[in-house]
């Protein structure tokens, strides 16, 4: 902006902060520079503005034409490397996470014993949810006899209702009603480590159930869940059990939820105990208050054994497939590559536009076969020497993983699952990450959320004809262009 000449003595700026000169001397001092600005002296300021306007007045935009003969030629090809050409040491580790991480988990009865496919003999899956409720509410907001909403701390607990909610999409129920049974547990159990065989399975302390699957139990009630009518059931809990479970020092308290309907596997979303309460301020009213849940887990049998020849991902505790990569930097094929660029050809990170590990799906044991989409993840193993407890690098499959349809693991399977590893292969060929950090050549394939489900997936192992492969899309520029 070109400053304008001002009258002598004129002072610009905020009048609240700029002091007005009161003496002739002060006026002269302020006015003098203004007097010196003759008309010509504004020239450089004008020039300054024009230069800036000219420089910033328009931004760069190169002329762009769609014309092939001006573009250098390019060549893209795809290379499939067999397992032995790029990887070694494929193995499976298990034991990551535990069922209690999944909450109420699953209920199942003789699931998967019928039907073909899978590795070895088919044994039906048995699974039950275990719930232990915490301290009952000490107060509740209730309407008194005058209609006012007041807190009441003198509550009388009567009976209650167990509400169970199921995942209608991932549950397998063969489109028929399912009988749900609630039993009261009578043996002390640990809400974090309980398994089908053990009520307590923590370090240095193991206690078996008297009977596998929850020990001696007493039936509370049952209900039939018809998937066509909703997603939840209610089972009445009588006042004796409500009174007994008020003792929070009793570690045997709890409910086992199971099913007596064969060949079903239901995923439990929530289990809540609602207690009927008589408030002291209005004894004629029944108020339902929810109880907190102290432990929520599930137990199941049989526990899958480690695979011998296949690769496995998922389950709870979770399985991970680990392998070491050694991507070759010199290629001698395929012919279509060698015919164009000549072989042997050295490839660099820049040549790799896309790379993906390809796994062939196998039909797993039906009792643990996925019934829903499974998100798979691939991460670098940062300290392979410390496996299976090595820390992992960030996800290379994005926050939601690579989604794999569950049907791909149903007979006859044989589908190809691609996990993109472009960035990793480029890092390996470069010898370091783009930031200059070291790169590990050991990778782990796992479920994106771990543990995610009792379901796991299987892939053909390195000794199989359908062993994992590495698909690489390579690009080259050719000299015959401009």
């Amino acid at each position: 902006m070109v400053p304008r000449a001002r009258a002598p003595g004129h002072v610009s700026g905020n009048p609240m902060t700029r002091r007005t000169p009161t003496t002739a001397r002060a006026t002269q001092r302020l006015a003098a520079p203004v007097h010196r600005r003759s008309r010509c002296s504004r020239g450089p300021v004008l020039v300054h503005g024009l230069l800036l306007a000219a420089a910033g007045g328009c931004s760069e935009a190169l002329p762009t034409v769609q014309r092939g003969d001006l573009v250098r030629s390019g060549f893209a090809t795809e290379v499939i490397l067999e397992y032995g050409e790029f990887a070694s040491g494929a193995r499976v580790y298990g034991g990551y996470g535990r069922p209690s991480d999944l909450g109420a988990g699953f209920v199942a009865h003789d699931f998967g014993s019928r039907g073909g496919g899978g590795d070895g003999a088919q044994v039906g899956l048995e699974a039950s949810s275990l719930l232990r409720f915490g301290r009952y509410p000490r107060s509740a907001q209730v309407l008194d006899t005058t209609g006012a909403n007041v807190p009441d701390t003198v509550l009388t607990f009567l009976d209650g209702q167990l509400v169970m909610r199921f995942d209608t999409l991932s549950s397998v129920h063969n489109d028929r009603p399912v009988e749900i049974v609630a039993h009261a547990l009578t043996e002390p159990w640990d809400g974090t480590t309980a398994t089908w065989e053990y009520a307590i399975d923590s370090v240095g302390h193991r206690e078996r159930w008297s009977v596998p699957g929850g020990g001696a139990v007493e039936e509370i009630g049952s209900a039939t869940w018809d998937p066509e009518t909703g997603d939840s059931i209610r089972i009445r809990v009588d006042s004796a059990w409500i009174a007994a479970w008020a003792d929070t020092t009793d570690y045997s308290r709890g409910i086992r939820v199971s099913t007596s309907t064969p060949d079903v596997r239901l995923r439990v979303i929530a289990g809540v105990l609602r207690i009927d309460t008589r408030p002291s301020v209005n004894p004629d009213t029944i108020v339902k208050v929810p109880s907190s849940t102290e432990n929520r887990t599930f137990i199941y049998a049989p526990v899958p054994r480690p695979p011998l020849k296949t690769l496995r991902v998922g389950g709870v505790p979770a399985w991970r497939t680990v392998m070491d990569l050694d991507v070759p930097s010199v290629l001698n094929g395929p012919d279509e590559l060698c015919d164009v660029v000549g072989c042997p050809i050295e490839i660099t990170a820049d040549h790799v536009s896309y790379a993906a590990l390809r796994f062939t799906t196998r039909p797993g044991v039906r009792s643990f076969a996925p019934s829903d989409t499974l998100p798979l993840d691939l991460r670098s193993v940062l300290a392979p020497d410390f496996l299976p407890k090595s820390p992992l690098g960030p996800s290379r499959s994005g926050p939601f993983g690579t989604l794999v349809p569950g049907e791909w693991f149903h007979p006859p399977a044989g589908e190809i699952v691609e996990l993109a590893v472009t960035g990793l292969v480029r890092d390996l060929l470069r010898g370091e990450t783009v930031d200059g950090d070291p790169v590990s050549n050991t990778i782990a394939v796992l479920s994106a959320l771990e543990p995610l489900s009792v379901e796991y997936v299987s892939f053909d192992g390195p000794t199989s004809p359908a062993a994992p492969t590495l698909r690489i899309v390579l690009n080259f520029s050719l000299e015959d262009g401009t």
Binding site: R37, S41, L46, L62, N475
Partner: protein, 401 residues
């Protein structure tokens, strides 16, 4: 007077203010550029290192009377009385069509920076300039498909050329008598060109996490050139000038692992021009240049143009002509012969120009502070390429006593 034009405003001296402006302008502006597809198989299209006055008058940079700073007329600065600095800026807006394709472009450039410094003890003037020479800035794309994993994948190839050569010159202009001036200069080519090939595959068809393939190479330019010329005022109203510029081989040297090395022969350029003063306020200027690129070594066959002559003419009229200030208006026309073809047709570039100046302080034969503006409408053609552009030119010059 001194304070007004050379001393400064307030506490900032003019030189400092101009230096700040220049630095800011340089920071805000890309390197000099001529965005054209001409010469895509050679060295691009020439940058005319002209100030706004020569541009407006259709001049080729030779034979214009009262020139303070010039990179093409070695003797032009001989009459400078005081150290003088000039900078020229040039925004442009272009469009092109090439058979079925068309598009637009925008750019800023700094085609000329120059300094003249009189050495009174020797009666001559030292000159230094940085000017544009040849440039290649364009992008071409191609869409195609490749079959990967039995899937047809869309591919977009992009090829970007960005860069060019500039010339830094150092010269001496000597006044001999009252009518004749001689000048010589020597310079060096500078600059680099970067070529980037990008190939992008359709990530949806490939499978995701697809990286763009990029091959990026750069080359540096080097070489030397020298020029000599004269200015003559045979009559008070006539000014003539001539110059010859010889250039050594322009070398294109690969940087890092870039392939290939280029050696290009740049032909001698002869230029001449004259200005006639028809009245105290009106003058006419004509100029021409000869440069034969046809036999130059180092280029692909059929790339160089057979046209050798460029010429231009224009007029300058002082609307206001005061003792120490004036306001001239100018117009002109140039017809140029770019050195490289697009395909097989010799290219032609024609430009109509219009401009004005504001001579803030001047003596009889010297401007001490000035601002010149020019506007051009130009076109280039070399079938099947047709390019058109609007171009503005701003030159600011200042002398310090």
């Amino acid at each position: 007077m001194r304070r007004a034009h050379g001393g400064g405003t307030g506490t900032l001296p003019v030189a400092a203010l101009l230096a700040v402006a220049l630095l800011q302008a340089l920071a805000a502006t890309a390197p000099a550029s001529a965005q054209s597809f001409l010469g895509f198989r050679a060295l691009g299209v020439p940058i005319r290192a002209l100030d706004a006055r020569a541009t407006a008058m259709g001049n080729l940079g030779i034979g214009l009377a009262r020139v303070e700073i010039s990179s093409t007329d070695p003797a032009a600065s001989a009459g400078l009385l005081f150290p003088t600095f000039g900078v020229t800026m040039q925004p442009s807006w272009g469009s092109f069509d090439m058979e079925a394709d068309s598009g637009t472009s925008r750019t800023n450039r700094l085609p000329l920076l120059g300094i003249g410094y009189p050495v009174r003890s020797l009666g001559g003037v030292v000159t230094a300039s940085l000017s544009g020479h040849l440039e290649q800035r364009w992008v071409a794309k191609r869409n195609s498909t490749v079959v990967l994993n039995e899937v047809e994948v869309d591919v977009e190839d992009s090829y970007r050329n960005d860069g060019g050569t500039s010339v830094v010159r150092l010269g001496w202009a000597q006044r001999i008598g009252s009518r004749l001036s001689l000048g010589v200069s020597a310079g060096s080519y500078l600059g680099r060109v970067e070529r980037v090939f990008d190939r992008e595959l359709d990530s949806l068809a490939v499978g995701g996490e697809v990286y763009t393939f990029r091959e990026q190479y750069a080359w540096n330019y080097s070489g030397f050139l020298a020029a000599a010329g004269f200015n003559l005022d045979p009559h008070p109203v006539i000014h003539v000038a001539g110059a010859a510029e010889w250039s050594g081989t322009l070398r294109e040297l690969p940087r890092d692992d870039a392939p290939g090395e280029g050696n290009y022969a740049i032909p001698v350029r002869f230029s001449a021009g004259a200005t006639g003063r028809l009245s105290p306020r009106l003058s006419l200027s004509v100029s021409g240049a000869y440069q034969d690129w046809a036999a130059s070594d180092g280029f692909l066959a059929g790339v160089t143009s057979g046209r050798k002559w460029s010429y231009g003419a224009g007029a300058e009229l002082h609307l206001i002509d005061g003792d120490s200030r004036s306001l001239p208006v100018r117009f002109g026309y140039r017809r140029l012969a770019p050195p490289f073809r697009f395909e097989s047709e010799d290219p032609v570039e024609s430009i109509w120009s219009l401009g004005a100046g504001l001579n803030l302080v001047e003596t009889e034969n010297n401007r001490l502070g000035w601002l010149d503006l020019a506007f051009e409408r130009g076109s280039r053609s070399s079938a099947p390429l047709n390019e058109r552009y609007w171009r503005g030119t701003v030159t600011v010059g200042i002398s310090r006593r």
